[in-house]
């Protein structure tokens, strides 16, 4: 069995930052593996550990800098890594869902996996759509917002018995035929830390860089349908009464508030 995991390097923003045009200035950004994808990687690695002959391939769309992130997937147990990049992609300000599905779809065609794990969403652009769009692009079945997967059943039966986390503390129990894309929700497992040995080994692994030509994707296919016209900090609507002072004074004022509200004391 082969499992492809889509991972994304996302920018995280410091508490205080400045916007320049339609972007946050680079000096206020840090880069990290997308939180949801961390769980997707873990789910794939756990499947590999539970079954014989399961290969895990991590794929990302990103510039050279993102190799650091995809090496995290290797360090945690992925067998191979593919990075998709091209000057034509670098020129796009915000990759839309169709483009990502198109590019990842070309990798799926080449790799022919039985399962694809993606994170439910990325915490930078928050589209929450790439996994399902990818499934439709390549003709796979899918499930979004998966928070439990019966590993043995997948390996033995070729059916993904899973739970989807709905709103309000309700879970849906669903069976999905393979091949399938599962969009993985946080909390499905406990992502491992990469071991020092894993990190060292990952450093020496080669990352397979694929261009648009390599994937047989035309430059026109990566033209985004989205043109970002403005970026700004949302206006604060706070009407909160702030309790000032040092921590002791703040706590004393808060204690008074709680007592006045009648939920504590007496």
């Amino acid at each position: 069995m082969k499992v492809l995991v889509t991972v994304k390097e996302v920018a995280t923003v410091e508490d205080d930052f400045e916007i320049s045009g339609t972007e946050i200035e680079e000096r206020f950004l840090d880069y990290d593996l997308n939180e949801w994808d961390d769980y997707a990687v873990e789910e794939a690695v756990q499947l590999a550990e539970a079954g014989d002959d399961v290969e895990v391939v991590a794929v990302t769309i990103g510039p050279e800098r993102s190799e650091e992130t995809i090496r995290m997937a290797l360090a945690k147990g992925a067998d191979r890594a593919v990075r998709v990049w091209d000057d034509a992609i670098a020129d796009v300000e915000l990759l839309d869902v169709e483009t990502k599905a198109e590019l990842l779809g070309a990798v799926v065609e080449a790799e022919d996996p039985d399962l694809v794990f993606s994170g439910v969403q990325a915490n930078d652009d928050s589209f929450g759509a790439t996994g399902v769009a990818l499934a439709e692009t390549v003709g796979f079945e899918w499930a979004a917002v998966v928070n439990a997967l019966d590993t043995e059943h997948v390996l033995d039966e070729g059916v993904a018995s899973l739970r989807r986390e709905l709103e309000g503390g309700i879970e849906e129990l669903t069976d999905v035929e393979l091949p399938a894309v599962l969009a993985i929700q946080t909390g499905i497992n406990e992502p491992r830390y990469a071991s020092l040995r894993g990190i060292r080994q990952a450093q020496s692994k080669e990352i397979d860089v694929q261009s648009l030509d390599d994937l047989g994707v035309g430059a026109d296919d990566v033209a985004s349908s989205l043109d970002v016209t403005a970026m700004y900090e949302p206006e604060t609507e706070s009407e909160a009464q702030y309790l000032d002072g040092d921590a002791g004074e703040q706590a004393a004022k808060l204690a008074d508030v709680l007592t006045e509200l009648g939920v504590v004391g007496e």
Binding site: V97, S126, A135, E171, V176, E177, T186, P234
Partner: protein, 324 residues
């Protein structure tokens, strides 16, 4: 002319609130584009749903009776057929868990650009401008979407629910569902984590978020809950980390709570969390980041470090703070 097709959301026999909000978002777009507002309601008791969806401004409701509950393969087939029939300029769906499960596939199959989780939509002179949040709600962006027809999902709670009684034409839309293409089977539902405590019954919740940093530090808020007689709850990351059981989680995918007082400690106030606790009578927030969105809905705010404020608060109520 069909301008807009919106898709209602329902579960276990009830329409979800976002369904009526979709009607308002859809009506605005239909007015801007000059055309009719159509509604699709698929699976379940479609006739009863159609009655509720028949609000002012709705022109036509299409019912697709197929199965009791949501199945994304059925939704994709039904919506593809409806879109072929109606050729709507806009398909508008909820950014709900079910919306996430069918909308990207529908947009892909119809070759439409898809923009998710809109908090604002503006259409003028053939251009659709979508307002979205990025980087965990730290920024808002506006983006123009290239040539339609368009597919967008909207965030719940951002549009008012449609009101009044409408005079829409309700008709059955017959979809010849290809059962071979239905490769997912919904087998049932389960409520998660009953547990020993029902946080939705509590009058006073002390709720902890990512700001607690380490599991060991939980002792601090547990002590606070103990000395104040509060019930302990949390935001999602705490439950994801396995530090508290699922039945303590407040938010969209957890419990909805309506206590007299909700004390949010080290919780930034992501939209998914706020959805679960905005009904509290009084909201108090303690956070180091003065720009944290939790302060937008708080009645009282403390900009400060929880590791300084909480021990002082425990002492203020005569307790002895644990050393963490």
């Amino acid at each position: 002319m069909t301008a807009v097709l919106v898709v209602a959301d329902h579960r276990r026999g009830d329409l979800r609130d976002v369904s009526l909000e979709l009607l308002s978002a859809g009506r605005d777009l239909a007015d801007a584009a000059g055309g009719d507002l159509h509604v699709a309601v698929i699976s379940g008791n479609v006739e009863s749903f159609a009655e509720t969806l028949n609000r002012e401004g709705v022109d036509r409701i299409h019912t697709v009776a197929h199965g009791e509950e949501f199945n994304h393969d059925v939704y994709v087939q039904a919506l593809t057929a409806l879109a072929a029939d109606l050729a709507p300029e806009f398909i508008v769906v909820p950014n709900s868990v079910n919306g996430l499960d069918y909308a990207p596939a529908v947009a892909t199959r119809l070759d439409r650009p898809y923009v998710s989780d809109a908090v604002g939509l503006d259409y003028a002179d053939g251009t659709l401008e979508v307002t979205r949040e990025m980087y965990g709600s730290k920024v808002e962006t506006t983006a123009d979407v290239a040539d339609g027809p368009f597919a967008v999902s909207i965030r719940g709670g951002e549009w008012p629910p449609a009101e009044g009684i409408g005079d829409a034409e309700v008709s059955e839309f017959d979809v010849d569902v290809d059962e071979d293409a239905v490769r997912s089977k919904v087998k049932g539902f389960e409520e998660v984590g009953g547990g020993d405590v029902d946080i939705s019954d509590a009058d006073f919740l002390v709720s902890i978020g990512r700001g607690i940093e380490e599991e060991e530090n939980l002792e601090l808020v547990e002590k606070l809950a103990e000395v104040t007689g509060a019930t302990l709850s949390s935001s999602r990351p705490i439950v994801d980390n396995g530090w508290l059981p699922k039945n303590r989680q407040v938010g969209q995918s957890g419990k909805q709570v309506t206590p007299d007082v909700y004390l949010a400690v080290g919780i930034s106030g992501a939209v998914q969390h706020v959805a679960g606790m905005k009904g509290a009578d009084t909201i108090i927030a303690v956070n180091t980041d003065p720009n944290a969105p939790i302060f937008d809905i708080a009645d009282y705010g403390i900009v400060g470090n929880l590791f300084d404020v909480v021990p002082a608060l425990i002492e203020a109520f005569g307790g002895e703070p644990p050393s963490v």
